[in-house]
């Protein structure tokens, strides 16, 4: 597992996974947010699956994971970019 994590490509892959997860969570957070304030519309669009209270509960559960996933995605992306820049500079210096 640790060996697998040593590969920059694999770390980049993890960053992308977290990015996708954050994007899905963002969409879900938006839907549940609307499920609180526009509950009549969301309730009918989701065939009764999301009412005001369940939307409210899910909205509470999603905000912290969304922040964590986004942070991980951003940190890995920035780290990857900095590494790529460093490698390019090294190649140029050679």
């Amino acid at each position: 597992m640790l060996e697998w994590l040593k590969s920059k490509r694999n770390i980049g892959r993890i960053g992308r996974w977290f990015g996708w997860a954050a994007l899905i969570l963002l969409a879900f957070t938006l839907i549940t947010g609307y499920g609180i304030s526009q509950f009549r519309i969301v309730n009918s669009l989701t065939f009764g699956l999301l009412d005001k209270v369940s939307s409210h509960r899910w909205h509470h559960y999603t905000d912290i994971p969304l922040i964590i996933f986004t942070l991980i995605h951003v940190v890995i992306a920035v780290w990857g970019r900095l590494n790529a820049r460093k490698s390019a500079r090294k190649r140029r210096d050679k």
Binding site: L23, L26, A27, L30, G33, Y34, I36, S37, F39, R40, D51, K52, V53, S54, H56, R57
Partner: protein, 219 residues
């Protein structure tokens, strides 16, 4: 392909955020008739509320309106709008806190619910006051809470008669409780011995106590 999907998702998210910022078709503006300051305290506007009722705005005609007081009472009552108002009237500034995250501080004017139910004669077994609305919405408050806190049945807010959007003819001013306890368009007050009566949102999971200091959700 992936980029297209991402672009579509970003556009959808941006659209949703923009849509939430745009003014929606809310209640009719009431102009300058309302009071916006009371004893040095700034008041919110009647238009600061969001429409979040279960079946949309109810339009009640006073011609056939009756407020029923039923359940565990000596003598069930059926009062007209004028008969409800024909008793001591009170006003106080109370803030409504909605579970959606917004709040509004309003000067409420109304009659004591205690006076209404005492006119009907509350039986000893009664412990809960259940409020029924025109649209089928219900919520309840403990009888002791209603008595001890002088809970009002309001007919005016900021010195303006409640508009239909705000619950005409009557709204419960359940101070220190979440907004879902503030029943609008009240048509019936029922005295009950059910200590655990759950109203519309409480049945779906919001806290039955409804205190703003307590948790929002029932466990």
């Amino acid at each position: 392909m992936k980029r297209t999907v991402i672009r579509v998702l970003i556009l959808l998210s941006a659209g949703a955020v923009l849509a939430s910022c745009c003014p929606s078709a809310g209640p009719t503006e009431l102009g300058t008739a309302e009071v916006r300051e009371y004893e040095g305290e700034n008041l919110s506007s009647i238009n600061d509320f969001r429409e979040n009722s279960i079946r949309g705005v109810q339009h009640i005609s006073l011609d056939d309106y009756k407020l029923e007081i039923v359940g565990l009472v000596q003598e069930p009552l059926s009062l007209t709008y004028e008969q409800v108002l024909d008793r001591d009237q009170y006003s106080k500034v109370v803030t409504l806190y909605c579970v959606e995250g917004w709040d509004a501080t309003i000067l409420w004017e109304g009659v004591l619910i205690e006076d209404l139910i005492d006119q009907a004669g509350v039986k000893d077994e009664a412990v809960t006051v259940v409020f029924h609305a025109e649209d089928g919405y219900t919520s309840a408050l403990p009888l002791d809470f209603v008595r001890d806190n002088g809970i009002l049945l309001a007919y005016k807010m900021n010195d303006v008669t409640l508009p239909p959007e705000r619950g005409f003819p009557f709204q419960v001013v359940a101070e220190s409780k979440w907004g879902y306890k503030w029943v609008k368009w009240v048509t019936k007050i029922e005295l009950s011995d059910d200590t655990d009566y759950k109203g519309y949102w409480e049945e779906l999971g919001y806290n039955n106590d409804g205190g703003i200091e307590g948790p929002i959700f029932e466990k």
